[in-house]
């Protein structure tokens, strides 16, 4: 491990500068945190758009739409954060979403209770996550390959189960099910409330529990974590199950909102989800990131998308802008770590 090698202090630095390093104040921590700068970017962009398009952008309707749109991605990005913290990746979240959505639809179509549909959807996500987790942490296969496999496998299963048809005849419990993802409370869409609750819960878990601490430790130095007695395999397995669960949760909400389940649901979402976490400061090498960052990253992408639409930019350019922001985010991260190291 290179961590054992002492990094000599850069040239022309007095010894006092090194030994006298102050513990970082809250302000300094904030200034060197990526989510902080992404939040600033988000605010600036929102203000600019409010000034440029006060009626269209700064309306209650648009706020409702934007927040709901990024809630689906944000929920998945929180689960993805758990995986990325360990230094892994989950490419299968979009397909898990599709499969879980189809399972929900099938249960409802068979006149199953809405609670059963929700449960079946979540279990589907957890099951695919479990397959990912077992293959990655116990069999020892690379996360990229395994989740690429389930990306293909789960999507194919969704197509088979749905017989390649849209499922929209939801039976007697359909309305109740649709109310979960499609409804709103005090003017804010339900998925947004779910996202907020999840973000708060995960912030607590990541910062104040063993489990959260172990995710960071595994991402920082997996071998060290193992030697100090951290149950590395179990924690990694659980991270993939969590990611599968959040993808399924998002599927439950989006199917309810759309009132139908199609097997193409969530196609390509894995990239948007990963982009959200990276823009929000997660390090793909592991050990760095957080729930707030994932949410704010998802929000930024959606606001960019929305703003471009309103500015009349051809929708086909969206991908280019999102790509630009991903690269900028990673660049910013690189600059910050170089300065603080």
């Amino acid at each position: 491990m290179s961590s054992a090698v002492t990094r000599p202090p850069p040239g022309r630095v007095a010894i006092e500068d090194v030994t006298g390093l102050r513990e970082r104040s809250l302000g300094q921590k904030l200034l060197s945190s990526q989510p902080f700068w992404v939040t600033i970017a988000l605010i600036v962009m929102a203000l600019a758009m409010s000034w440029y398009q006060p009626e269209a952008f700064a309306s209650a309707d648009n706020f409702f739409n934007i927040t709901r749109n990024f809630a689906f991605i944000g929920i998945m990005a929180i689960g993805m954060t758990a995986v990325i913290l360990t230094g892994g990746i989950d490419l299968s979240v979009g397909s898990i979403m599709g499969l879980a959505g189809v399972v929900c639809g099938l249960v409802l179509q068979a006149e199953g209770h809405w609670a059963l549909a929700v449960l079946a959807g979540l279990l589907t996500g957890a099951a695919v996550g479990l397959v990912n987790g077992v293959l990655i942490s116990y069999v020892g296969l690379p996360a990229f390959v395994v989740t690429l496999g389930t990306l293909s496998g789960a999507r194919s299963l969704a197509i088979v189960l749905s017989e390649n048809k849209m499922i929209y005849e939801f039976g007697p419990w359909g309305d109740a099910f649709n109310a979960i993802g499609g409804g709103s409370i005090v003017g804010v869409a339900n998925p947004v409330w779910v996202l907020l609750a999840l973000a708060v819960t995960f912030s607590v878990i990541l910062n104040f529990t063993n489990w959260g601490n172990y995710l960071y430790a595994i991402g920082g130095n997996e071998n060290a974590a193992r030697l100090t007695g951290v149950p590395v395999r179990r924690i990694k397995l659980q991270a993939y199950v969590v990611s599968g669960l959040t993808a399924a949760l998002s599927a439950v909400l989006i199917v309810g909102w759309q009132g139908s389940a199609i097997n193409a649901l969530g196609q390509g979402y894995e990239l948007r989800v990963i982009a959200s976490t990276v823009i929000g400061g997660a390090d793909l090498m592991g050990g760095q990131g957080g729930a707030y960052g994932a949410v704010i990253g998802a929000a930024l992408i959606e606001v960019i998308r929305n703003s471009l639409l309103m500015a009349g930019v051809d929708a086909n350019w969206q991908g280019a802008f999102v790509g630009l922001f991903i690269v900028l985010a990673v660049l910013l991260q690189r600059i910050r770590t170089r300065r603080s190291a």
Partner: protein, 246 residues
């Protein structure tokens, strides 16, 4: 009664005999230097004591009772702590988080157990003070000097009531000034009655800090004598095989 007693320890890996009938005793508060060329069996011996390997033959006694360590955790619960060569630190965590990794202090709020940062920072600060290291609990390990990193790895061994600390090349990759710091820390462990087994290639370190030097060659123990009655020249001879045994 010695703290640790190894009798006829052998370890085979297939046809390779990494250890051949090694006997070794270590008393409480004793610092033993373990020397030998690469592949002489030092690391294997330490790994047997640390619970990484179960010996093929022989027995290991701790305070007179026979122990079978199957995992590092088994050895740790019996009071044997290890400072690994790469220190086993997570760069992205704070000093305190590293010290307590795998043994976090928790506090209950209703049904939830949450990390007790306050207690961990306080305890880590105490440990660093005890080691006379200028390491601060809240600093990220990424930003630390080699000596401070060593302090974090050594502080970790002081969490529980360790009886013995095994150190694998703790001074291999650090500056001269930091070597002095680490040797001081070894003295402090000794002052507390903790036995230290120090694997090192550096003759001056062994002669500065150890009571006894044990030399391994090709899986056998070829010398085990008080540092005071040996010399670097003799030890060098024993390591290379120029002197057969002593």
């Amino acid at each position: 009664m010695p703290l640790l007693e190894l009798r006829g320890i052998s370890k085979h890996f297939g046809a390779i005999e990494a250890l051949k009938a090694v006997d070794l005793t270590v008393d409480a508060g004793e610092v033993v230097g373990l020397m030998g060329d690469n592949g002489a069996g030092k690391s294997t011996l330490v790994k047997v004591v640390a619970g990484n390997y179960l010996p093929s033959e022989g027995e290991l006694r701790l305070d007179g009772t026979v122990k079978h360590f199957r995992r590092p955790v088994d050895a740790r619960t019996e009071g044997i702590e290890v400072v690994y060569q790469d220190l086993a630190l997570c760069d992205n965590l704070t000093a305190a988080a590293n010290v307590f990794l795998g043994r976090e202090l928790k506090r209950r709020i209703g049904p939830l157990a949450i990390l007790d940062y306050k207690a961990m920072y306080a305890r880590a600060a105490e440990l660093f003070k005890e080691l006379k290291s200028e390491t601060r609990p809240r600093d990220l390990v990424r930003l630390m000097s080699g000596g401070q990193r060593q302090a974090v790895a050594i502080a970790r061994t002081r969490l529980a009531n360790a009886k013995m600390v095994l150190m694998d090349e703790p001074t291999a990759a650090i500056s001269v000034r930091q070597v002095v710091e680490v040797l001081d820390m070894i003295h402090r462990l000794k002052d507390r009655g903790i036995a230290v087994v120090l694997i090192s290639h550096r003759m001056p370190d062994v002669f500065a800090v150890c009571d006894r030097v044990v030399v391994m060659r090709r899986g056998r123990k070829v010398a085990d004598k008080a540092v005071a009655s040996s010399s670097p020249e003799e030890v060098t001879g024993l390591i290379t095989g120029a002197i057969q045994a002593a």
